[in-house]
């Protein structure tokens, strides 16, 4: 854990946004009993920022990332919102949801790249990895063959693989190496946004560590932004600048990662934090969260979290809270939370001790 001092300086809204997701809604299914997997989700990714998406399985993390890139397979359908990409380099961009197929295909990889979940299986087993790396470069940029090969070699050494591996087949590499090849491949065209969908889930902790450090180094050198999806909150606390916590297709808390760790404001965030042991500091009880994520076909009324929430009060089953400022309002301007406890009009006016840690300073 590198997070020891609760600095609130690394917040996103001060940075120029590269990817703005506004009111994004996604359904699975096409008729009236379609599942509403995402409901008016808002999220902004700043330039050079690492944004973590966390939550239990089935809460919409991957759905959000794939919908924002229009990669969601049928029966997924986007039912509203916009996803604005704005290059921080030359200002080009547009709404991904209104782009034609051609624009979208040109935009992919060049502007936004994806490292898939278990992506070590995304390499085609019959081609050498050098050829697969050069394929993408060839599709988007015109350059002579030797320059392309040099670029592919650079990419490999960038992720710590010796460049004579260019002529290896995927099965000749270990899982961790293949994962790093996939990361190199995603970075081949120097995209501004890299979406990583649980890129370290299938790897052992040593390899996880290496990959995460590699991502941090590369980010520092190349200056791209990352959306990092994982259910490993402790990994995110270390890696991410900012964390968005999702529950049942909504973002329930959006704050800098040190704030999430030290001063969770949403009961669900607090529950997630109590689901794994802290690496240092006093021992605390592992509470976890009772119950299981709700069935999206039959969501609880009002706040979707209220049946599992230890702090639920009488308004919770009636009102669905929107993402808004915390109870401390102006004292923490860069974070938001969707919880009625923070609504001065409805809530009890003071927070339970667990959610009330004041910002230091």
């Amino acid at each position: 854990m590198t997070i020891t001092e609760p600095t609130i300086t690394r917040t996103a809204t001060t940075k120029k946004p590269v990817l703005e997701i506004r009111d994004l809604s996604v359904d699975y299914g096409y008729d009236d009993d379609a599942v509403h997997a995402l409901k008016n989700v808002n999220l902004t990714l700043g330039a050079g920022e690492i944004l973590g998406l966390a939550g239990e399985s089935g809460c919409g993390k991957s759905t959000l990332a794939y919908a924002a890139t229009r990669l969601l397979p049928p029966p997924g359908v986007i039912t509203g919102g916009e996803v604005l990409f704005t290059s921080s380099r030359d200002g080009h961009g547009g709404d991904l949801l209104r782009m034609s197929d051609r624009e979208l295909r040109a935009q992919r990889w060049r502007d936004t790249a994806i490292v898939f979940q278990g992506s070590m299986n995304s390499l085609n087993p019959v081609y050498k990895i050098g050829k697969q790396l050069m394929d993408g470069i060839r599709a988007h940029e015109k350059m002579p063959a030797h320059a392309m090969r040099a670029r592919a070699a650079d990419l490999l050494s960038m992720v710590g693989i010796s460049k004579d591996r260019l002529d290896s087949y995927p099965h000749q590499l270990s899982g961790g190496m293949r994962q790093r090849v996939m990361i190199a491949m995603a970075l081949a065209l120097e995209p501004e946004v890299v979406i990583m969908d649980e890129p370290t889930t299938a790897l052992d902790v040593v390899m996880q560590r290496q990959i995460v450090e590699q991502i941090m180094d590369l980010k520092r050198d190349l200056g791209f932004s990352v959306i990092f999806i994982t259910h490993d909150v402790s990994l995110l606390l270390e890696l991410a600048d900012r964390i968005a916590i999702m529950y049942a297709g909504n973002i329930v808390e959006d704050a800098a990662s040190s704030e999430v760790y030290h001063q969770p404001r949403h009961p669900y965030t607090a529950g997630l934090l109590h689901s794994f042991p802290p690496l240092h500091g006093p021992r605390r009880e592992l509470g976890g969260i009772p119950g299981s994520p709700p069935d999206l076909m039959a969501l609880p009324s009002g706040c979707n979290f209220h049946p599992r929430c230890p702090f639920a009060f009488d308004a919770c089953p009636k009102i669905d809270p929107a993402l808004g400022p915390t109870l401390y309002g102006d004292a923490e301007p860069h974070r938001s939370v969707a919880c009625l406890l923070h609504d001065p009009a409805v809530g009890p006016g003071r927070l339970p001790d667990e959610l009330a840690a004041r910002p230091a300073g």
Partner: protein, 357 residues
């Protein structure tokens, strides 16, 4: 004791995850049972096929005349008495078609079922057992693959003068199974290495159960379309044989009608009613089977089923469900919203230029 209980609990959990489609809601189940019927193409195909199947059963009884009865009404065009006219010997063509439907259907379905059965047994076994067994079974299907079916049938039919529908169906099945077997073998080879088959083996499932309950459901689409392909092939073969006069010319089927029409020079005489209806019947059955084939893949593949079942809604809402380009649906295009869409389209143009720049 608790140490012993743990592995059992683990195995139970593993087998629970292996079972596909465990907990689905009532809504889903209802949709699944209606799946094939919701697909418009498959529905049309099924209706056409059902009509011909019913005719195959009741055809001989509802035929208005004896198809062999010679009358003096030579080459009558369609009329109220003879809906499809008469032949040069005054036989009623509608009756000939109705009586002949049964032969066509029986041969098509019988040959289809037999050939599919052989191809499943040989193909799946070859793919699953591997090794020497695979070599031998593959050799067998390769040999049958290169036997030219139609000439063989002609020779056999000529040697067996009393060759009826059953013989024809047997020969067609014997020569028509090899291609399906090869496809099934290839698919089984790929399936048997999948994790869920490994898991079934680890759970101690016997081989027959792995083949029939783990692998076979994944082959349904191939088996079904193989059956339909063979059935079409069998019907066409039988009609062809009857048309060229190899099989008995006194047993009525649509090919026999065409045989008599051709040998009596119906085309030269301008008696279109003699050969057009029989040709249309053949085309209709072929079309029906092909349409059903379209629907089968969407029906048996659970991933496609939802999309297939919603085909009507997708059409109405003008959503094109594609992989890689998630559709964006912004509500029903009412008049006001269409205007909105137009203005946003105009507003988009500068963005496009930005993208190009």
């Amino acid at each position: 004791m608790s140490v012993q209980a743990d592995p059992i609990a683990l195995t139970d959990a593993a087998s629970a995850t292996v079972q596909p489609g465990g907990g689905s809601t009532g809504v889903r189940r209802k949709r699944r049972s209606l799946g094939l019927l919701r697909n418009r193409k498959a529905l049309i195909g099924l209706i056409i096929l059902a009509v011909f199947l019913v005719l195959a059963v009741i055809g001989p009884w509802i035929a208005p005349y004896d198809p062999n009865a010679v009358t003096r009404l030579s080459l009558e065009p369609p009329s109220a008495a003879h809906w499809l006219g008469t032949t040069n010997t005054g036989q009623d063509i509608l009756s000939q078609l109705l009586v002949g439907t049964r032969g066509v259907m029986v041969v098509g379905l019988l040959a289809g079922i037999l050939a599919t059965f052989i191809s499943v047994v040989v193909g799946v076994t070859a793919g699953f057992v591997g090794g020497l067994g695979d070599e031998l079974l593959s050799l067998l299907s390769n040999v049958f693959l290169i036997i030219p079916a139609l000439p063989l049938i002609i020779i056999v039919a000529a040697l067996v003068p009393s060759a009826g529908g059953l013989t024809i169906a047997l020969i067609i099945a014997a020569t028509g199974w090899a291609w399906g077997s090869r496809v099934l073998r290839a698919q089984t080879l790929s399936l048997r290495k999948r994790d869920f088959v490994e898991a079934a083996r680890a759970n101690g499932e016997p081989m027959w159960r792995i083949i029939f309950f783990e692998i076979m459901p994944n082959l349904t689409a191939i088996i079904a379309s193989g059956f339909i392909g063979t059935a079409i092939f069998a019907i066409l073969s039988e009609v062809t044989l009857a048309f060229i006069g190899v099989t008995s010319i006194s047993a009525w089927n649509w090919g026999t009608v065409l045989f008599w029409a051709q040998s009596s020079q119906a085309l030269v005489l301008g008696a279109w009613w003699w050969f057009v209806p029989a040709g249309l019947c053949i085309a209709a059955v072929g079309t029906a089977l092909t349409l059903i084939n379209f629907g089968i893949d969407e029906f048996v593949n659970p991933r496609l089923r939802n999309t297939a079942a919603s085909a009507g809604i997708l059409r109405k809402k003008r959503i094109r469900a594609r992989i890689g380009f998630t559709p964006v649906y912004r509500g029903a295009p009412s008049a006001a919203e269409t205007r909105d869409a137009l203005t946003t389209a105009d507003a988009l143009t500068p963005t496009d230029q930005e993208v190009g720049a």
